[in-house]
Amino acid sequence: MRYEAPQTLEAAVGLLAEAGDNGRVLAGGTDLLVQLRAETIEPEIVVDVKRITELRTVSPEDGGFRIGAAVTGAELGEHDGLRAAWPGVVEAAELIGSTQIQGRASLGGNLCNASPAADTVPALIAADAVASIIGPNGRRDLAVADVVSGPGQTALARGELVASIRLPSQSARSADAYLRFIPRTEMDIAVVGAGVNLTLDGDGRCTAARVALGAVAERALLVPAAGDAIVGSTLDEAALSQLAEAASAACRPIDDKRGTKIYRTKVAGVLARRAAEIAQTRAGERA
C-alpha cells in the first residue's frame, strides 16, 4: 500500500484516477482504517485529502454554506453560524461516534462510506444539500439524496471524489432537526435515523417539509409522503400521526444485528414525528 497526502484537489484526483479501483480516499479514516485492519479492503493507494484546503474549510455561500468534505464533526459543532442555521445537520454530524471519532470523522466520509445508517445523510437530504464532485472530467453537482445508491455503493465514477457539500440558504421560520435511535446513549450505529426540515408561515402553519429516514432501507430515503402529511397543518395530532404512518410505510428495512424490520418500521415513525416537533419548535423560535 502507498500513502499520499496531496496538497491540491487536482493532485488528489490525478492519484485516484491513476489508481482506478485500487485507490481509496482517506478523510477522517474512522471507517477506512477499520476496513484496512479487517482486510475487507486492500487498496494499493490511500489518498489522504486532509491537506487540501478546500476540503478542510467551511465557508458561507449564497446565504448557505459550503462545507469541505474532510471537515470533521467536531469542527461543524464548533461553527456557530452553521450550528445556528442548520442545527439538525450539525446534531447529526455530532452524533457520529465518540468525542475521539468526532475529532476525525468527516461529512464527506460519512456520505461516501455509503452506509444505509449514516447519521448525516438523512439530515443532509432533508436539508436538500448538494454534493460538489470532482473527478478526471471536472466538477459536477449531485443532490446528496442521489450520491448513495446502496450499501457501500455510490454514484461516484472512477477517480471522482466529493469535494464539498453545499447547504442552501435556510429561509425564515424554517428549521431542521435530526434524531436517531441507538440502544445505548452513545457509540452505536443508528438503528433508525430521521431528519426533518420544515418551514412555517406566520400562523405556525407548515408550508414546506422534507422528511428523510436512515437505516430503514438500502440507503437513506427521502419520504415525500411524510413531508406532505404535515404541509398545511399546524403539526396537530392528526397530521403528526399521518407523518409517522407515512414514515413507517416508506420503510423497507432488513433484520440484522442492530434491529428488526418490525422494530425499525415502528420506531421510524416515532422518530420522524419527534424530529418534526423539534424542528417546529426551532422554526417557531426563529419567527
Binding site: A5, R37, D48, Q100, I101, R104
Partner: protein, 158 residues
Amino acid sequence: MSKCHVTATINGDEVEYLCEPEETLLDVLRDQLFLTGSKEGCGSGDCGACSVMLDGRLVCACLVLGAEAQGRKVETIEGMAHGETLHPLQEKFLEHAALQCGVCTPGVLVAAKALLDRNPDPTETEVRYWLAGNLCRCTGYDKIIRAVMDTAAEMRGN
C-alpha cells in the same frame, strides 16, 4: 513498498520515524517509540484506550495512520505529568481510586484533560458524554466521573 519517513512532535520533542503506510499511529507509538502508555483495546475506535491528542484534537491513535502525523503535534499520556509533578487529573484519579485495573486509565486521562482544557466547568452529563468513547469495565464510571468533576472544581479554584 517503501516505508514513510515521518517527522512529528511528540510530547514536545521532535521525533523521526519510518513506518509502513498501513501502520497506525498507535503501532508507531507503542512498537517503535516504546510509548506503551496508549493501549490497544479494540483497534477500531470503540474503546478509547489509545486516546491521544493530534494537533490539539482528541483522537484514537488506532484510527490514525502513522504517516498522517507528518508535521503534526502528538500528545500522549507520557507527556501529561511535568517532571515530578502529576497533572491535577492524575492526582485526583489516585485520590478518588478512579481506577481498578488501570488499562483504560491513560486514555481516560487524556480524554478528560482535553475536556477540561476546553470546558473548565462541565456538568456531570457533559463529562459522561465526553467520556462515552472511553470504555471502562471495572469501575462503573462512578469514581472516574467524580474525579474529573473534582479536578475541574479544584482547577477553577473552588
